[in-house]
């Protein structure tokens, strides 16, 4: 994944707001990168672009050599479907729906058969250590468990890249550490590339590298090996 001189402007005219001012960023396969910065620094915008949810105003975003900016809405949706997984701060699980059915959701859009779907969803739940909880609805699970269900949902379709937007933002330290352990394990064992937005230094420490945003620019790529 490569961002080339990407900038993003919201709105037009005097009310316009420049969220990104020419970003260059290269993320290799099996990388684990933490994107840090204050709110309004452009890190979320960057993640949205990386996640093919948004397109750059200028510059280019190449995903596996494809210029995402040139793709239409549906093509970008297909890109997300087959290559990306998302973890959100607010978990975004479906209410009144069992953990297993939540994890199955991406597979439904992939058109898998019911039996295959169930099998893969169970495996993903097992990978996050929740195989005992498959029949529970989000309301019956703790925050940490809900986030693990969300991670299971993100990895169930074997994505190349996992995009996490403040995955530990709503959790206490112990739960946060569990989640980070889980993420680094997925990165290590499955080779999933992870891009994680966070503003907590402790959590960023789990990543292999860190970038810090300030006012729409990358401030200081931390020296490698600081970890």
């Amino acid at each position: 994944m490569e961002l080339k001189a990407v900038s993003k402007v919201y709105g037009t005219g005097r009310a316009s707001m420049q969220a990104l001012r020419g970003i260059d960023l290269r993320i290799g396969d099996s990388d684990f990168i933490a994107v840090m910065g204050a709110s309004g620094s452009g890190k979320s915008t960057c993640l949205n672009i990386l996640g093919c949810l948004d397109t750059p105003t200028s510059g280019a975003y190449l995903f596996k050599g494809v210029d995402v900016g040139a793709l239409n809405r549906n093509k970008r949706a297909l890109l997300r479907r087959y290559f990306l997984g998302f973890v959100f701060q607010g978990y975004n699980l479906l209410d009144r729906t069992s953990a297993l059915e939540n994890v199955e959701l991406p597979l439904i859009y992939r058109g898998l058969h019911a039996r295959k779907r169930r099998e893969k969803a169970r495996a993903a739940l097992a990978a996050v250590g929740l195989n005992e909880w498959e029949g529970h609805t989000p309301a019956e699970l703790s925050g940490g468990q809900q986030q693990r269900v969300a991670i299971a949902r993100a990895i169930v379709a074997d994505p190349a890249v996992l995009l996490a937007d403040e995955p530990t933002g709503n959790l206490d330290t112990a739960r946060s550490l569990e989640i980070m352990d889980l993420l680094s394990r997925l990165n290590r064992e499955r080779g999933i590339t992870i891009v994680m937005v966070t503003h907590e230094q402790d959590m960023a420490e789990f990543a292999k590298s860190r970038v810090r945003f300030r006012d729409g620019l990358i401030a200081d790529p931390e020296p490698e090996g600081a970890k």
Binding site: G51, D54, N74, L78, F86, F88, N92, L94, P106, Y109
Partner: protein
């Protein structure tokens, strides 16, 4: 893809079972109303038909003057018939079972200190035959009474009740126009006619007696003719028209000054009326179905707003615009058609029950059931499309941020 959308929609409906059933309620009521109205309406039509059939479906009536021509129909006083016309019909037309020449007048019937305004009808024993109306108590006229113009009478059951109450009327004397008539029989009660007239409110006396003592002429106001089973009524009607033209010297091409009425004609007019009423009621009920559809749209719009984050999640996961559209559309259609099915079941139960109370036959009408179901599906598509499109066009980033 449709299967997936169906699966997702079903999960969604199950997830929000309360809201789903409330949404369907509008359609349930609409469909139930339409089908109940139409079913009861068809029942009423059917009832009218059988009631008229009870007048005698093989019955023809000939009256002087024109038929149902609306205002100005009768342009000149037409010559009345007489008994010879009746005999000629009986003699010359094939397949005639019985002919009853009748004449009528309004009169007062007095017994002791009671009196009752009623119709006095003069006719022959053919009257009982053509109207298929037996004398319940007592007897019919004797030939001598008919020929001699004796003052005897047979009472309709209403008259008998009003004048005699529970007393025995047979053999008693009833006065009509100051003449004393001996009661020789009472008709079986027939009830109200389709027009709401009490058919039992009359007194039958021999035609000759009527002509001599009541009317003072030899006129016959109408002829009732019944056609034998297996003979064509239309044929008999045509024959009678021809015969009457001949007897009344109506030249070719000139309009008849009499009218042969077929009871089926009346049946058609009346059942036409109830059909119009049925469609009116059905149309009113269809409006409620439309309102039900708007209810679906309303709930779907609320649902889209409420589930904005969920839609954002689906879009982020890689749902295509048309998949989201289809999901919401299918959801609306499943809700409306489910409502349709429940409404149909409800309507059938309800109309069977109401048909019992209203004393109309229960007529199952498959057309309207199919139509109502198709309409409820169409309502789902029509009113589900707009909210579904709204959902599909959401910006995933905005939707994910939605609180």
């Amino acid at each position: 893809m449709l299967l997936n959308a169906f699966l997702l929609a079903l999960r969604e409906i199950r997830r929000n079972i309360m809201r789903s059933s409330l949404t369907s309620l509008g359609i349930i009521i609409g469909v139930a109303a339409v089908i109940t109205m139409v079913t009861l309406g068809s029942g009423a039509t059917e009832k009218v038909k059988t009631q008229i059939g009870s007048l005698g479906s093989n019955l023809l009536q000939i009256r002087p003057g024109q038929g149902f021509h609306g205002p100005g129909g009768i342009r000149e006083a037409a010559t009345p018939f007489d008994v010879k016309d009746a005999n000629a019909i009986k003699r010359e037309i094939l397949g005639i079972e019985a002919v009853a020449p009748t004449a009528e007048a309004a009169t007062q019937a007095i017994y002791g200190n009671r009196n009752w305004s009623t119709m006095v009808t003069g006719s022959t024993n053919g009257f009982m035959e053509v109207r298929d109306w037996p004398v319940e108590k007592g007897r019919q006229f004797r030939d001598g009474e008919l020929r001699g113009g004796t003052a005897v009478c047979i009472l309709g059951s209403t008259v008998s009740r009003e004048l005699f109450g529970d007393d025995e009327p047979l053999g008693e004397i009833v006065r009509l126009k100051k003449l004393a008539f001996r009661v020789i029989g009472v008709f079986r009660a027939k009830g109200q006619s389709t027009f709401g007239r009490d058919q039992d409110d009359f007194i039958l006396i021999p035609l000759r007696t009527f002509q001599r003592r009541i009317a003072g002429n030899t006129d016959v106001t109408s002829l009732y003719v019944s056609v034998r089973d297996g003979y064509s009524i239309n044929r008999a009607k045509q024959d009678m028209e021809r015969l009457m033209r001949e007897r009344r010297h109506i030249s070719e091409g000139k309009e008849e000054d009499f009218h042969v009425r077929d009871m089926r004609e009346i049946a058609n007019v009346l059942s036409g009326t109830t059909k119009v009423l049925t469609s009116l009621l059905g149309a009113v009920a269809a409006v409620s179905l439309l309102v039900g559809g708007i209810g679906i749209m309303n709930i779907m719009l609320v649902s889209v707003t409420e589930r904005t984050r969920e839609i954002g999640t689906r879009l982020a996961i890689g749902a295509l615009e048309r998949e989201v559209l289809l999901q919401f559309l299918v959801e609306a259609v499943v809700l409306s058609s489910l409502g349709g099915v429940i409404g149909i079941i409800l309507a059938l139960g309800m109309s069977a029950w109401l048909a019992g109370i209203l004393l109309v036959p229960f007529v199952f009408n498959p057309d309207i059931v199919v139509l109502a179901f198709a309409f409820s599906v169409a309502v789902g598509i029509t009113f589900g499309y707009f909210p579904a499109r709204k959902a599909a066009r959401l910006d995933p980033i905005e939707a994910l941020r939605h609180e």
